[in-house]
């Protein structure tokens, strides 16, 4: 039984403005991938200093757009995209954009791109519809704006065609999506062709999302990809070596989240002061929720994963201690494949190196080998609670005491 409704369809789409489970290519990288596959893209060059921007602009020919290469939505509104007409403007734009902080991301490169004179802006995209377990191709004549808002407010403005992953997209499906969206007859064939190529790329390269917004239509009835989004399924990078190479350290972003990447933790930094460590995504989320429920504020989500050994446990404590906002830590382990004795060893190891424990740690151990763990655990260094609820309340109290 499936509840199939517009409500479900609207909003599953994940573009640059939304979440993605994937590794995100930069615009310039995605454009290169699209161009190599035959999608028309504007003439462009990457530049990382002011002179480079001016030289690139002269070679391409004015007017050009100077576009910050960071993976955040709403670059234009945030001042990360500027249209320039001459060298002076190019220099000015380069000076303001290069080095700027765009929603927490440091801009160290810009794409200098031929400005396209357009008459229409379309949207084309491929993503996985998780509800259906199938890819879906989408086309809309309302491109150039936040497509998620369109999906929310006017879902009928986006034509959708689900694709059987065993067969791939039939040519008629590309045409159908394009005609259903109401794309003008004069460019329908070209848009179908772009959509077909986009699906091929999505399929070949283990895409999570592939989209062009806007796909511009020129006065000569040509189509051209003015932006490009390509997110790759991280779980498939092992078979996409050339794309894996494009993955680079995000310029900027949260230092602690980068550190978590190095340690191989699932970690999300939040705003609060109660640090949280646990095993298993659902239980860690629940621990966050309980911190909130008991009046505290979670500082982070940190899942050590299954079967963590002592050194991993010690690394997790180190991570959470390095967050200056953290005033107390709740360490909640319900062992299945994770063993209580290993957890206890790791906690001792991490805490015994301090003359004074930097932040109070509340430990709750349950499941596999918890009794062995309790024997090993140095109870002079931590507070032990028997239940999840008690452990969370105690950690919240500690955090409040320090904040007062």
């Amino acid at each position: 039984m499936r509840v199939s409704s517009e409500r479900k369809l609207a909003g599953f789409k994940q573009g640059r403005n939304g979440p993605s489970n994937g590794m995100k290519l930069h615009e310039y990288q995605a454009k290169q991938v699209f161009a190599d596959a035959g999608v028309p893209t504007p003439d462009s060059q990457l530049a990382s200093d002011v002179d480079g921007v001016v030289t690139a602009a002269e070679e391409i020919g004015y007017p050009v757009a100077v576009k910050a290469q960071v993976q955040v939505g709403g670059r234009g509104k945030a001042g990360g995209i500027k249209l320039v007409e001459d060298d002076d403007e190019a220099r000015e734009a380069a000076e303001s954009i290069l080095g700027m902080d765009l929603k927490g991301y440091h801009v160290d490169r810009v794409l200098v791109e031929e400005a396209v004179d357009f008459t229409d802006e379309l949207y084309v995209g491929i993503t996985m519809d998780r509800g259906e377990g199938k890819p879906v191709a989408m086309v809309s004549t309302k491109g150039g704006v936040n497509i998620e808002e369109v999906a929310e407010e006017d879902p009928d403005a986006i034509a959708r065609e689900h694709i059987d992953p065993a067969f791939g997209m039939h040519p008629y499906q590309a045409r159908k999506a394009v005609y259903d969206a109401g794309v003008d007859q004069s460019v329908a064939r070209d848009v179908s062709s772009v959509l077909t190529t986009l699906y091929q790329l999505w399929d070949d390269k283990d895409g999570a999302d592939a989209e062009i917004n806007p796909l511009m239509v020129t006065s000569d009835d040509e189509v051209i990809a003015a932006d490009a989004v390509m997110n790759i399924d991280e779980d498939a990078l092992f078979r996409q070596p050339e794309l894996a190479e494009m993955e680079e350290e995000a310029a900027g972003g949260d230092e602690l989240e980068q550190k978590a990447d190095e340690y191989g933790f699932d970690y999300v930094r939040l705003e609060g002061n109660t640090g949280i460590i646990g095993n298993g995504a659902g239980l860690v989320m629940t621990t966050l929720d309980l911190v909130d429920y008991y009046g505290g504020e979670p500082a982070n989500f940190l899942d050590v994963g299954g079967g963590a050994k002592a050194d991993r446990i010690a690394n997790a404590l180190d991570m959470v201690f390095s967050d200056d906002n953290v005033e107390s830590v709740v360490f909640n382990i319900f062992g299945g494949i994770t063993r209580g004795d290993e957890v206890a060893k790791g906690i001792n190891e991490a805490l015994e190196q301090f003359d004074e424990i930097p932040k109070p740690v509340v430990v709750r151990l349950a499941g596999t080998n918890w009794e062995e763990g309790m024997e090993i655990l140095n109870e002079d260094l931590v507070t032990v609670e028997q239940t999840l609820e008690d452990a969370v309340q105690r950690a919240v109290e500690y955090a409040e005491e320090v904040s007062e």
Partner: protein
């Protein structure tokens, strides 16, 4: 009584010669699970903990009458391993593997519509019928025999809730971990239907989390089709939009779908109380059974 697995289930372990496969095969057998074969290409003729290993699942079915597989195959090969079990005419396949490429799962999902084999997972802890058999990595000692069916997207959260139940002397018919990925074989609706049709299941716990719309679909299904009382729990109330909370499937989209609020209100509308804490879930179940 129970659903999907009992002491007659004949299990083939795919990937039995790997570290995890071997360890958990032994754990399953210790619990009483009837593991009749292993299947690992190139390892046919060997034995692991007394269990004969075959090169293919087909052979394990022919030689040992295996009817269920448990899959501990690395992610790059797990999609293929699932296809192999679907094409071998098994009743049930349980994929424990985490990190299978989503496009592989989309193809598996398509194949599932063409076979009679049921898939649990992937990226799940498996399932257990206390006192009879367990398939997967769940710690058997926390479960107890009883009359509550449990279905959950998360492994350790399942353990937590089971612990709250077991501490009050409330046991389980079967507990099913359906997995935390965006595309899974058995979803909440499927599991609820199984429990609804099981005469020994007198109450159901459903543990969901943020992301996707499976909980909302389950709520609609409960409203129409389920007479057995259901208590719910939803993890991820404090998760910010756009951040993946560990599970590939646990993410609130930028446009606000997949939120805990939406799931909780859908369940409440279907008459399902949702606990603020795991302890409250146990309170509701205790009331149902009183």
């Amino acid at each position: 009584m129970s659903v999907l697995v009992d002491d007659d289930t004949r299990v083939v372990v795919q990937g039995i010669t790997g570290g995890e496969g071997k360890f958990h095969t032994e754990q399953m057998m210790e619990y009483g699970t009837n593991v009749v074969a292993g299947a690992v290409p190139g390892k046919g003729g060997q034995e692991v903990s007394g269990v004969p290993v075959y090169d293919t699942v087909h052979e394990a079915v022919e030689e040992e009458n295996a009817d269920t597989s448990v899959i501990f195959v690395p992610p790059a090969f797990a999609g293929d391993a699932i296809f192999e079990s679907l094409d071998s005419g098994l009743d049930l396949a349980v994929a424990i593997t985490e990190g299978i490429p989503t496009q592989d799962m989309a193809r598996v999902n398509k194949r599932l519509t063409e076979t009679d084999t049921r898939l649990i997972g992937p990226n799940c802890p498996g399932l257990i019928t206390p006192g009879e058999a367990k398939l997967g990595i769940l710690p058997g000692n926390i479960f107890s025999e009883g009359n509550v069916g449990l279905v959950s997207r998360s492994g350790t959260l399942t353990y937590q809730v089971v612990d709250n139940l077991t501490n009050r002397g409330i046991g389980q018919t079967t507990a099913i971990g359906i997995g935390g990925d965006p595309i899974i074989g058995t979803n909440f609706v499927d599991a609820l239907e199984l429990f609804e049709n099981d005469p020994d299941t007198d109450a159901i716990v459903m543990c969901g989390e943020i992301g996707g719309e499976d909980e909302e679909e389950a709520a609609a299904f409960i409203d129409e089709n389920v007479d057995t009382p259901v208590a719910g729990f939803i993890a991820g109330r404090t998760a910010p939009p756009g951040k993946r909370m560990g599970h590939a499937g646990a993410i609130v989209s930028g446009s606000g779908t997949g939120t805990a609020e939406s799931k909780i209100s859908a369940l409440n509308d279907a008459g399902v109380p949702v606990g603020d804490t795991p302890e409250e879930v146990a309170d509701h179940i205790e009331e149902f059974l009183a």
